[in-house]
Amino acid sequence: MGFARPARIDDAGLAGQLAADALPGFRPADIALSRDGAGALVAGNDGRVALVRPLGDKFVVRALHGAEVARSGTVLRVRPPEPLFPETALDLGEAALAWARRL
């Protein structure tokens, strides 16, 4: 039918570009991709951290202020304080602990 497939985020460059496009003035400095393509965390050089997650075949970006964050092993669960924003489970491997401390 010509419909696009659901998006995955498995390219650090793309994650950084999406965050920079969505948040004017944001300069990506460090990026962590979920191993299953479910999302990415992008740290800016101003200390902000952005969540990038797929929505259909596109993406949604949020600067994480006051987000609920929970870690279970290598998986970080993040939910921005916003109605209907789904929880994002990010499998960050061994980097999960370090990113949890940044949030």
């Binding site: 696009a4 003035g25 929505l55 259909g56 209907l84 924003f85 789904p86």
Partner: protein, 296 residues
Amino acid sequence: MSFPDPVAIAIPAFVALIIVELVAVRLGWRGDYDWRDTGTSLAMGLGNTIAGAALGGVVAAMAALVWEHRLLSIPVSWWSFLLCFVLDDLAYYVFHRSAHRVRWFWASHVIHHSSQHYNLSTALRQTWTGFFSLGFIFRMPLFFIGFPPELVFFCAGLNLVYQFWIHTEVIDRLPRWFEALMNTPSHHRVHHGTNPRYLDRNYAGVFIIWDRMFGTFEPERADDPPRYGIIRQLPTFNPLWVAFHEWIGIARDLARARSLKQLWLAIAGPPGAVSGETSDAVKARWQAGSAVMPAE
């Protein structure tokens, strides 16, 4: 004299053209569709039609009331039709500009911009709360001048039908004379763009001349392709959230307001005034960033 409803007549053509565009995209033409996004757009279009059927009579009654106190008695003729069409398009420009600069009007209009896609189904993504936000008042001067309500509604329908086909990426640029005079897919892609340079630009309905006259025109650039949607993209395809999220935001900000100024900004300020994410602020940060960024 009675006039047909141009939108009702055009609906089969809308459906057929969406299918044609889908096939074109499938064959490799520029553009893309996501079934969830298109489904939401169609749901919004259906809700808009229902709301219009339910409340259109009230708007017609108000138009008739204003027309009874008209300044002039303008007959229905070819010249009054042309004049009405042009003035109705000017009224649309004023409405549309207000809909992007005043949060009360934006709360209804944001629905149309809430898709990250730009295809013909996006044209059908329309508000359910247009009556509540009072968008119809922008056409009232036409009735007061003396244009018969049925003529104005006919012109408004034609205006809406015209705007359908410009919601596409399949068409790149049209002949220069046409791009100079008329609203086109290229001009309207800019209007739906969230790129800082494109924010609050190209409000035209049919004639792009209004933007050129009033300083709001911005051409599409090959080196800055539009990224569609809104500054803070919605995190869901839920039609109810699409329809009401900004109204809920207004209610939340009113509840938190601690001064008359905050109350005013929550209702009548520019969208994003309370959070600090106005289009002007985004542009300013972008321009500041461009000024200090080294050339790459």
